[in-house]
Symmetry: C3
Subunit: 138 residues, 3 copies
């Protein structure tokens, strides 16, 4: 069985890190699928998905790590050509990746106790976003 859901959200951009665990969990519960997997996917080239223990310290530490990976004020060929100034956003997003797949057991996400699913908006401006949530199982 395949059930397609989505999550809509507003982000502030600039490596805005948003906990979407409860939205993904609701989508899974509402799907009626008890055992299987869920894939959460960012439709866009300046966002990414991963997991983290969602607390303010780590949110700040992750932002620092991405600044080190691809500095906001670095030199990007993308910026020189297109002038939109978000070369750093694209590079960060490609390195992290747009997709996360999580197992489902008994209708619930199989996450660790201190593990949350996060969407990161790397773009350099506020965005409205739609994430695809594809649930497969029985």
């Amino acid at each position: 069985m395949v059930v397609a859901k989505n999550i809509t959200l507003k982000s502030k951009g600039e490596t805005d890190i948003i906990d979407i665990t409860s939205e993904v969990g609701s989508a899974v519960r509402n799907s009626g699928i008890k055992n299987g997997i869920v894939t959460v996917f960012v439709q866009g080239a300046t966002g990414g998905i991963t997991t983290v223990e969602y607390e303010p310290g780590l949110v700040s530490d992750l932002k620092g790590a991405f600044e080190k990976l691809a500095a906001r004020q670095g030199k990007y060929a993308h910026n020189e050509k297109w002038g939109d100034g978000n070369g750093f956003s694209h590079v960060r997003a490609s390195l992290l990746g747009p997709s996360l797949t999580v197992p489902i057991k008994g209708g619930a996400l199989m996450l660790g106790t201190w593990q949350q699913i996060i969407f990161i908006d790397f773009d350099n401006r506020p965005r409205s976003r739609e994430l695809a949530v594809q649930i497969i199982g029985e």
Copy 2:
């Protein structure tokens, strides 16, 4: 329903970044699966998969980011032991990861407008590659 396809390609190596969106899209259309997911997987330890807005500026910026992550001329224990000089290729590939899963809706990939699927060949020589494309759904 499970349909197995593959993509064969030739790469130049040296962080060659190749847009495989149309090949993955064709595999999905030819599978007959309308709703589900597709997993694209590199069978090999020196390649990776992600998405990007595929334009020459970002292709160049991504290459720069990988050089910063794991420098070609850095010191690698792998090179000292095996002498094949591709320690940087392996490290880059492991950090990016060999797998990408994308939702399918109405027989099409659920990508953003400016989002392409890329295979990156990090090896230090030209290669013939076969990517597994596994499509699951209904």
Copy 3:
């Protein structure tokens, strides 16, 4: 068909890199699923999964790459708040990601010849771990 398996293991922590290919392969064989995908997932925020050519040189090189990405002795807001000293573990785990999906063909993992699946325990102490292995197919 969906089959849920798991892998239990003990790690030494401190970016302990463990080859779990044979455990994942056994889970797939025992599932009876011949064609499909397997998702391996770390239930926890300080571990990650990827593939590598598993040999001592690359194991050492990967550890070096993670030290460069997020230094053990760096300054982390997580450590200042919680005092458990594993801010670097969390940042490394979030950047690598907790999930890997591999295609299955004829009851076997579709890996390259020199490609192994690894679990990396980034935590700063020995841990007992349980990985979820979710197998979907026919």
